[in-house]
Structure formats: structure tokens, C-alpha cells
Point group: D2
Chain length 366, copies 4
């Protein structure tokens, strides 16, 4: 099945393996007239680039993006935008053992079972490098949203159980530490934990939070295509994500109706909510409040500790995974969550334009 | 947008409002040759039916399903299956106030903003009755899966913070209490809490857990169409769901790689996992273990307590929601989670048949 | 596969067999605010109803449509519209022989081969009654288009080789004869031919032409989703259609560039074309001229003449098809072509709203 | 809208403008295990390459394809296949005038109207070079089909009104003349006509016929997703196609039922048809006979003759189109029709695997 495509009107198709020639994405259905050049996209790619700190893999890739089509005289033309990033530093030799046995926590076994064989060099399509296409396309969606006054912002909310404090929350701190935590103190604590776990050849997980500001009311559809349902799919499709929540999420399950309901009131002449337990979505449609979502990332499965596993021939064996791996996925995943959120929100804005006959008529009567 | 359709090969379209003439679903793409009659579907519908206990709305609907097409001589024919349930007990008068103001925690406001007006009788498409179509179609998917040895089972895992104990877990208990909890003691405790909250005109939330047994390995696609991503969308599209997790879910975020990775071993001559933190899915594909997922439901938003809100004309006001409402959504939602899981799994089984050229050739060489 | 669904934003799913309980359609994605009641749809259904003349099957069905959902206080609500027509006059006994052998020119053989068995009562989903759902949904699309000043009009262009003359063409004649030919003289001639062929227990084919007036410029997408490509699929999906053309169609293949190109000029201050060989579409997008398309219908395959065929058990045999069958499909198919054209055009109007960033911004800044 | 994507399971997204950096396609959903390297694809691309004869544009492009992903050790891996062809000979200066006025018969005007501006260098996405992506992807589909014993073969059936004679038809002649006509005599005649029309600075149209041999029975779905409906869309989406027919096509419209019906008989123990007026498809499903389809191509719109048109500013003017243009599209379009047919047939083979529950069960019980 066409599993590498995402979106209905603003549709992307990503391609490329971690150890192939290149990685890329085609955006089909991007509106014409969005100012775009490589620099807009590169800012996003640099945030997921390896080698940013000692907590990210030492693999050094420039990850420079090239626009191959769909942009003319600095603006999108409405035709497909093809973006490509060449793979440079591939060191395939590091990954030899993957060919013969299944790494715990990885897709090696399921991949072999599904396709009959696999490109065993570095995880192929299940590698984290697959997200390059998502981030590049997400940067274009974010650029479009920004022009409408809609911003998408993600950050590390929790790392190895260490959570950003509500009191100390300061978004301007996010880009000052390598963990992308908006809380200098939590970041320092988390870094210490990471040092310790690295010395133990272990890895940790964490939580990314993402907020969307400036949403119009009524984006999302009422039944299966709820905005939160699509955000859940988008975010859960990122490699290591094991959980998703919107607003109060799992905490709502132990709350009460009288506390969890957000009262409506009037603010600046518009309907608003006094609280935001709902996370900005009611009945699957944006309610004009800030959208708040969270994704739970499991610890990096590639660890240098010895683990039990089996070979492709069904022999039990031990494995020690060599190579360069992040002890924590979260910092580099922050921009991936942002990208998937932007892609989803922008696509739903486009598909939702046909909701009212009076507005359709005005649109075409222009 | 076509928001009431779900699935790629096994595609369903649900329709009907809570206070319209009827509710139904069309299943387009159901394989031929599945034994089917109304009784197979009715069993599922009866599990979500109102009026089962004092914890569910007193609205008494027979909710009897009729098959209008797609079945001939007791078997599906491969053509669209149209299922209909007539609405009987509509008492529109209970819902008068909804027309003039926005209920907190409901879709009234977003619906009005999106479509310009709405069918204010009982929530329209945002009513819980919308799930009748999901459950009816899910029963057909579950019937097909069962014939392949795949079973989908959901239950209430937690209600108002009271959780099923791992030690006392007993699936046979599930259908003996009206809360669908597989733990008699927890059920008793939860019932007491519900009594208390009802007397306070309040409501509670909870968690539904769903497991899938008998999965073949390799179902799900590698990037955006991961099995867990599609399950997330399916489950998050249910009205009051605010969170979703697979396997250890959010707990994985504070775990470590050495603990969270599931070691592989050989069991009965096949590759298996020693533990199942992953919840049966690796790299977006089923790994042959039990699939385990959880959904967090918010407390019923309709409560008889006085709440602050605004009118459709932008006046601040108070609202007391009358009518018959469940103090807890979870018991009746158990079968809805089961239905959405079955629909997703069966559809992905069908779309995944084209993954390997050798198998495609054998299939057509038959 | 979900073969009974059509459209991207305005999506329909039809269901029902010729001899089942009912026939219907669900429209998912219809904009809110379109005035709608049963009478709007009934006008269209009456045009395809059997028993209108001696050239159409004597099967007498009221074919009365009922709206089950999606309309409130006389307007569409934006939620799925469920339309149902009960089957009344089913006389299954007429069709006994179909169960045991394959009718030439019908789908009996391919249906059996695909699904392993079939509902042999009257053709099932391959019956002409399947088009009831298309026409009912098409009436809704046409109603929406009309409110935008776009009209879709079809008529019989040719019957049994007898063609409407360009000189005598008079649309007001169309509804005065039972063949829906906009040329009284051609209609009379065609009726005589039909009498003759009926007496010979034979059937004839013909051509339907359909025009769309009032199209905005730029509807349709540039590569695979060209407006003409989608119209071709829509029209070719009608049972007996064997050919499709747009503008000059096949005649263009023997024309020359200097003659076939339509020169541009200015008319009433707007860009216009001096001729319309292109049929209103350039590069897959509407050019503002009248859209002109034609569909070639084969002769009714059900004839009372003895034909050679084989039984389901592979025995050669003769078949004489009894029952009530139109000697010509075209008159009743006119409204079906109109419906499929309206569905396609309205859906593409909706999907095309996201083509320009400046217009998207204005739309949401309203 | 995502207009450059095609297919449901075997899905392609093409990209690239005639005067951009490159042209390419991503195939998402290609089964694993198909032997593939650049040479397989290059054979197809060479058949559409410019500069093959004096009847094709002198633009000299190597049109060499590079596989960037999805192939490992000589076989497809099941992951997206990214194919790229660099543009080399771009001579933008030839196309200056297109920027300021609308070429008759081209998409310049509709493109401007739709997107607000356009890449005026050589037609952008509406250029014939857009078909490179189609042909490259079609070669992969054809390779897969060939391994199943299914072959797709197209040829020029008619050029400038000169038709291949049934008696002289000889497929082996097709690749011996530059017009790809399977009839040496007709080819010679057509070449003479082309010489004459070129000297008159005019162009001609023609018809491509395509046949599919080796089809299993039952491919295609019964209502909207008929095999012929999808073939119609696929073929009509090729730039200059104005008409499509299957089997007898438009000729069927003036035939009679007794003549047009194909009698069934038994042949080599299998159900077969004595004739093939239907063109291999009954009720939208393949019937096991040869599939026969035809596409009508209009004459090349780019001619050096002076034509009337308007400027982008709405001034009437004359235009003489310079640059290198084929006087006839048909010869190079033959392989494009073949590609679109192969893409459609292979995709429908994949989506149709879920039609019968018994076969689904056997498939997964393997």
C-alpha cells in the first residue's frame, strides 16, 4: 500500500532510505503564491540534523535541501514541489550485524516478515532519517500557516521523567539548550540524567508538547476526520511514538464533568473558553483556543548494552548494537512533531473550505 | 469534506442524526462470502444500547438493525451492505435549550461556527448515537476477522480513577457487571463512585483497553500508514476520547531502553518476544504478539449542574442540561472501541495483500 | 475494493440491488445551506423512471425518494445525506434463467468469476437500477451548481445511427418526446426505427451529449485530475457506455492544428475563444466556454432473440432473455449522464478552492 | 488539489517542469521483489525521447533515468521508488513570447486563471515532458505485469486520417518505422502526409490503440471503479487526448444488440467469447479476452503558422510559435498510453485482491 503518502489536498509523498543515495519528498497540492526558497526549509532541517550535541548521533550530514521543482521566481507555482537531500556519510560497515539478526525494539523482524527481505543498511525506511521528508514538507506547510497568522510550536516537555515546570516555562529558553526544553533548570537536570544513562550504555524516553496558536474556529470534520483524530494519526506515525493526547488527555479520564468542562464566556466580543481542558478542539473541530497536544516517545531502542535476540535463521543469540545512536530521540523529534502538526492543520484548512454553500458562492463570485 | 467515511478497501460511510428518522451505515468493499445476518450485528448493537442499567441513559431504543442490501442467501455478495436502525424515542422537547446556547464540552459552538447553523435536536451528528453506524459496521469486520482466527476484545480498564487490578483481571467478569469491567471488585467500587457522582449531578471519565489476538506478522505500512497510527486515528475519532496509547504508552516515556526493548526469542519454532512493552507493533507493523491499546475518555459533558456559557447571540448565561444522559460514557463505549479497532485491522489486512510480488503472483495463478 | 464510492470532497456511496429491499445513496461532504427537499430530487428520478413510454421497460416502480438525514428545516446541514428508494415491483420469477447461465453482454460471468457467486435476481448491482443512487445524488449536486449559475444539460444526440441535426436542434423539444431528443424530426425517425427493431426482438444503441454552461475558468487540475479525465471516468462508469469524447473528440484526430486550435479573442472585456473545438477544457482546466461531452451507449444487451451462451457449469446452451427490458438505453440514460457530470463538476469546484494562497487567506480572514 | 498523484495501492506522484532542474516520479506502494534496474525503465523512456526522427522535436535530451531509492540488490524493496531524469537542453530563450500571451490550444490561459501566475518557460507542467514520470513508473508496472504473463502493447492506429489496415496489421512492423505504426504501407503514406503538413507549418492528429493480453477474469470493480472507467481517466489525463473508447466504442452506438453482444462458448475448457465487441470488459470487470482501447489525440497545438490570440493584459494580438515542436504527438505518445494502461491494470489487480473472503483466508493462512 501507498504508506509513504500523507494528506488529502496538501499531499506529500516521502521517499529514501538511510543508506541510499538520497532522501526526499514530493508535495502535491501546494497552493500557488507562497514565498519559498531553500533557506526557509533549511532552518527546519537544521533543527533535526544529527551531530548538534553529544546527545545526538555523531553522524555528520550536511542535510542540505535542494528544490527541484514547483517554485518559480521565489514563489510556489501550484505544481508539485520536489525536495531532495543527498545522503553523504553512510558508513555502511557499522551496520553489518543488522543483516543477520533482529534488533529488539526495531522494525527488522516485521520488515522481513512483510516484504520477504529488506535493505538492512541502517534501518532503511524505518530509520530516523525518514523524517527528513516530513520536516522539509512541514516547513512549507508552516510557512503557509504563518502567512495566515497561525503558528505551530513544539518543545521537549519531559525527558527521562524530568518534566518542564509550569512556573519556569519560558519558550525563549527552548533554543538555548540542546534538549529543546523551555526550562533551563529542567534541561540541566535532564542533561545530567542523560550523561548517567549514556555511561550505562542505556537510553531514555520523553514527551514532546506542541501548541498551535491563531486557529480559526471550525477546522476539522465531525465524525472520522476530526482534527484531533488526524493529529493523532500524524503524530503516532512518527517512529518511536507510543502515546498521544490532546488537552488534558489521560488526566481527563480521572477528572469529573464539572471540572473538565470548559465554560464559555465572551472575550473581546467573541465566544471564548474560560479554561482549556479540551486542548482547543470540541467535537473534532477547532474552537479558537490554543491547540495543545503531547506525544510520548519511547527510549531509543539502539543501545550498546548486550541484548537477547534471534537471527534471521531463527537461532537465539546476543546482540550489541554498535554505530552512532542518540541516547534520546526527543530533542531531534521536536521539529518532527511540529512538522506533522503543521501538515495536518494546513491540509484540514484546505479540505474544510467547502463546508458552506454561501461561502463557496462568494469564493467563486469574486 | 467527506468526514463520515472511513477505510481504504473496506470503506464505511455512516449517516444519521440523533433526532432524525434513522441512523445507518454503508459498507463499501466488503469481501464476498462472509456469513451474515441481522443477529450477528444485533449482538454488538445491544452492547452499546441505552437503558441497560441505571448508569446509562434511560432513552429506550430498540436499536434493531435491518440489512437492506449486499447479503444474499446468508452471505455477503461483495456489493455494498446498507444497514439501517430507525430512531424511535426522540423526545425532542428535552433538548430545546440547546438551540439557543452552547453547552460546555459539546460541539454546539464549533458546529455553528463551521456550518452557519445546526440541527440542534440532541447534538445531531455529534451525538453518541452516531456510533451506531460504527458498531454495526465493526460487527461485520469482527465477523470477518473471527473467521481468520483474529479476535478483538475491549473492556473498561479504569472508571473515575478506579483501575482494574492485574491480579484480579478476569475477562469472564466483564459481561457480568454493567460497567464492562473484567474485575468484580473494581466494578463494585466504581459503581459506588458513580452513585455518589450522580447524586452530585456530576459525571466521571475512564479508560477503555482493547486487545487483538491472533494477528499475522507484518500488517501495517512502514511510514504514515502504520497500524498504530491508523488505530490512533480510529479511536481518537470516537466522540469523547482525549488520549490514545499503544503498549506501555506514556509509561514508555519514562522508561529506559534496556527495560523497554522486548527481547526476541524462539517459541514453538517461531520468532516471538519475551515481553510486550511494544503492544504488538514494531515499526508500524504487527509483530505477532497481542496488540494492546488504550483510550482515555473524558467525563460526560452533559451534567445537570449549573454551568456558565453563552447564547448563540453572544450573551453570557447559565445552563442546566436536562434530558437523559449517561453519568459515564465508558461502559457503552467499550464496544465502540472494539468496532473501530476491528474496522482498522481488517482494512489494513486487505490493503496489505499487495506487499510482495511472489505472493501476488501465487494469488492470481490459483 | 470500495467501488461504489465516488468523489473527493463531495463523496457519494451508492448501494442496493435491483431485487433487494431498496436502493439508495449516502452523500458525505455536501456543503451546508443548500435548500433541499424530496421534490428537488424526485424531478430527476422521474426522468430515469421505467414505464415512461413503450420504449422503456414496463416495470412500474414509483421510485419515490425519501430523505433520511442531513437536511434540517429545508436546508442541508453539512452532515451526510441519506437517500432511499424502496423497490416495489420485483417479479423475481422473470429472472430464473440468469441463475444458471451467463447472459451475453452482461456482467453475469465476470461477477461469478470475481466474487465466487452472485445475486442472480435481475443483475444485482450491474442492473440499471443501480443508477438511481447516482441520479438522486446528482440532483443535489445540480441544485448546488444551479445556485452558482452553472447548468448541466444532457439529451439524446443519436439513436440507432439517427442523429440530431445541428440546424433543427431545439432544446425545448427534448422533453416533448420520449426519446429526449432535441429535434422533433429526428425523434420521429428514431421512434420508427425502434418500432422496427422491437418487432425483430433486437435493440439499438445511441449517443448522449451533455453541456455545462456558466463554468468559472480554471476548474480541474493539471495532470492526472484533469476535469476531462474525471468526466471520462464518471461517464464511462455508467453501465453500457463504450466511448467518451470531449469537444471535437475523435474528429479532432483527423483534423489539423490550424483548424483545431481555438483562437483567443476579447469578448465583453474577458478572454474568450472564437470557436470551441476544445469543448471548454484546456490543459485539463475549464476555459470558461461551454463544456461539451458525449457518451456512446451500446445497444441493450437483453434481447428476446435466441443467443448462444454457456451455463455456470460450463455447458454450451441457448438463451432467450425474457422479462421487461428497454430496447434502447439512451432515453433513460440522459439524466444519468447529467447526474455524473454534475457530481464531477461540483466536486472539482470544491477541491479546487485551495489553489491559491492569496484566496485561501481572504477566505479565512472573512 | 493533489492532481499529480495516480493510483490507490500502486500510487505514483510525478513532478517537474519542462524547464526546471529535473523531472521525476515517486512510486509509493510498489510490491517488494520485482527485479528492477535503470535499464528496464530506460527502454520505455527511449521510446518517448525527443529527437528520434524528423517528426519529433529536435530538442536533444538524453533523458537518462536514475533510481534514487526503493531498490536493493536488484530488486524492489516495497518502499517508495524515486526516479529522476535531469533536464539538460532547456533553451529557455525560445519560449519568451509565451510569457506575454496565451497560445491557442494550450493551457497558458487556464493556468494563469487558476494559479494567478505561471512558470511560462515551455509550458511548465502542461508540457509533454510531464509524461516522463508517467512512462518511468509505467515501465515498473509493466515489468510487474509481465512477470504475471500480462502484456500491454500500444501502437499508432491512425495518423492524419490514415488508418492501419486490418489485413496488413503486423506488430513486428511497429518498431521499424518512426511513427510506431504496425503497417509499413500506412506508415509510408502517413509520413508523406506529415511532410506535406510540415511544409505548410501545420500539424496533424491521430489515434493510438492499446491491447492488454493475459488478463485474469474479474479485475475491476462493479460500479464507479470499473476497469474501463479507470482506463478512461488514465488515458484522458494524457495531455492532448480528446476521446477514449473500449472495444467497438462509438461504433457500438450505431450497432444492434444481436450483433454487438458477444456470444459465450467453451474454449480449452474455459468460458470464452466468440467475438470481442466488448473489448475485454463486461460490467466493468475483465472477461479474460484481450482488452482493446483507443485514444484520440488532437493535432499538436504548437504550430508556426500565425494565429489570433490575446496577451496576458487582454490585448488582441497575433502569435507565431517558434521553438521545436513535433508536427504529430502520436508516435511519442504510444508509450505513454502503454504506461497509463499498465499503471491502471496493475493497480486494479492489487486493489482487487480483497474481493473474496475464502481467498483472503487462504492468503493469510500460507
Amino acid at each position: 500500500m501507498a504508506g509513504s503518502s500523507f494528506g488529502t489536498i496538501f499531499k506529500i509523498s516521502t521517499w529514501g532510505e538511510s543508506h541510499g543515495k538520497a532522501i526526499g519528498v514530493v508535495i502535491d497540492g501546494c497552493p500557488a503564491g507562497i514565498p519559498l526558497d531553500e533557506s526557509v526549509i533549511q532552518v527546519y532541517l537544521d533543527r533535526r540534523k544529527p551531530g548538534q550535541s553529544r546527545f545526538t548521533t555523531a553522524r555528520s550530514e550536511g542535510d542540505l535541501v535542494e528544490i527541484l521543482s514547483g517554485v518559480f521566481e521565489g514563489k510556489t507555482t501550484g505544481t508539485p514541489i520536489s525536495l531532495i537531500v543527498r545522503n553523504q556519510d553512510q558508513r555502511s560497515r557499522d551496520y553489518g550485524q543488522i543483516a543477520s539478526c533482529y534488533r529488539p525494539g526495531h522494525a527488522d523482524y516485521t520488515f522481513d516478515a512483510k516484504y520477504g527481505f529488506r535493505d538492512y543498511r541502517g534501518g532503511g525506511r524505518s530509520s530516523g532519517r525518514e523524517t527528513i521528508g516530513r520536516v522539509a514538507a512541514g516547513a512549507v506547510a508552516a510557512q503557509a500557516l504563518a502567512s495566515m497568522g497561525i503558528t505551530v510550536t513544539a518543545y521537549a516537555k519531559e525527558i527521562g521523567g524530568i518534566r518542564v515546570s509550569d512556573e519556569r516555562f519560558d519558550l525563549s529558553e527552548r533554543d538555548k539548550n540542546r534538549l529543546y526544553m523551555p526550562d533551563a533548570e529542567a534541561a540541566k537536570e535532564a542533561e545530567a540524567l542523560l550523561e548517567k544513562k549514556m555511561s550505562e550504555t542505556d537510553s531514555v524516553g520523553g514527551i514532546v508538547e506542541c501548541v498551535v496558536d491563531g486557529m480559526p474556529v471550525g477546522i476539522g470534520e465531525t465524525v472520522f476526520e476530526k482534527l484531533d483524530a488526524n493529529l493523532a494519526k500524524a503524530v503516532m506515525s512518527i517512529g518511536a511514538v507510543k502515546g498521544f493526547e490532546i488537552g488534558d488527555g489521560f488526566a481527563a479520564a480521572s477528572s469529573f464533568g464539572s471540572k473538565n468542562n470548559d465554560a464559555f464566556w465572551m472575550k473581546d466580543g467573541a465566544v471564548a473558553k474560560a479554561t482549556n481542558h479540551a486542548g482547543g478542539i470540541l467535537g473534532g473541530m477547532s474552537d479558537g483556543s490554543q491547540i495543545v497536544l503531547r506525544a510520548a516517545f519511547k527510549p531509543t531502542p539502539s543501545i550498546a548494552k548486550e541484548q537477547k535476540t534471534v537471527t534471521v535463521d531463527g537461532e537465539e543469540t546476543d546482540i550489541v548494537i554498535k554505530g552512532r545512536h542518540d541516547p534520546i530521540i526527543v530533542p531531534r523529534a521536536v521539529v518532527v512533531v511540529e512538522a506533522m502538526t503543521a501538515l495536518t492543520v494546513f491540509d484540514m484548512l484546505l479540505v474544510g473550505m467547502g463546508s458552506r454553500m454561501d461561502l463557496i458562492k462568494s469564493f467563486y463570485r469574486r
